[in-house]
Symmetry: C2
Subunit: 156 residues, 2 copies
Amino acid sequence: MTGPDLHDDLRSVAFLLGTWRGSGHGDYPTIEGFTYDEEISFTHAGKPFLFYLQRTWAPDGSPLHSETGYVRPVGADAAELVIAQPTGITEIHAGPVEGTTLRLRSVDVGLAPTAVDVRSTARTITVSGGELVYRLEMAAVGQPLQFHLEAKLHRI
Amino acid sequence: MTGPDLHDDLRSVAFLLGTWRGSGHGDYPTIEGFTYDEEISFTHAGKPFLFYLQRTWAPDGSPLHSETGYVRPVGADAAELVIAQPTGITEIHAGPVEGTTLRLRSVDVGLAPTAVDVRSTARTITVSGGELVYRLEMAAVGQPLQFHLEAKLHRI
């Protein structure tokens, strides 16, 4: 299958492209620790952004979280990430691209009237040797910014 | 193809489900009027929300806008819509579901550091006889809330 050529502006984040599968674990002071399976895809349509789609499942196969959005390169060494979540939360992130590592901090979190109180998140995504590892920290429900999720995925 | 059963909470917004294709026109005081082709899909995975994906193309086939997110029913007669856009903008909407019409006003607009200044939008989506019509008003770049987009699509 052939698609449109990669937009020049996407060179700095092209390392994310593809479909990734793996598993992760989560924890937070207000919940029980848990494990999950995950699939992430980053695709492009010839425009200067990546389309991002993520889904996770419990070990028994039932769907857990999902989120979707876009990665926007800013110059050659920074990026923004805009995300919508079915929990009624939007996140806008910005941060540097350091080689094949994306270091993001939320600059805006939007909450639907019925959403839980998330204040900020920080996400680090690293790709190395066909493996994508991310770590997500979160400040929510009165808790300070701290570890929430970590996962390791392989490009399929 | 069989999928998971529809979640009970989705009954009020089930009229949106499917893939829709059609065309629309846009205008704003700061730009030239334009026309576009569009495809929208609303899907579900057995959870109490719809996944929303939208793309538009210029008459010559080149990609224009896109956005993605989720529809969250709130009780039997209201809904929230959370959206991410590759322009670096997130929107959170809330409003009533009146039969097969969804009347949404933005309650939050998030802007990435490099995004243009959108203040608010209002979206009305109506489904009738296999046809989906929406109208979008927008307050942006110093202009008051006013007509921006209107489109008519058919379920395929």
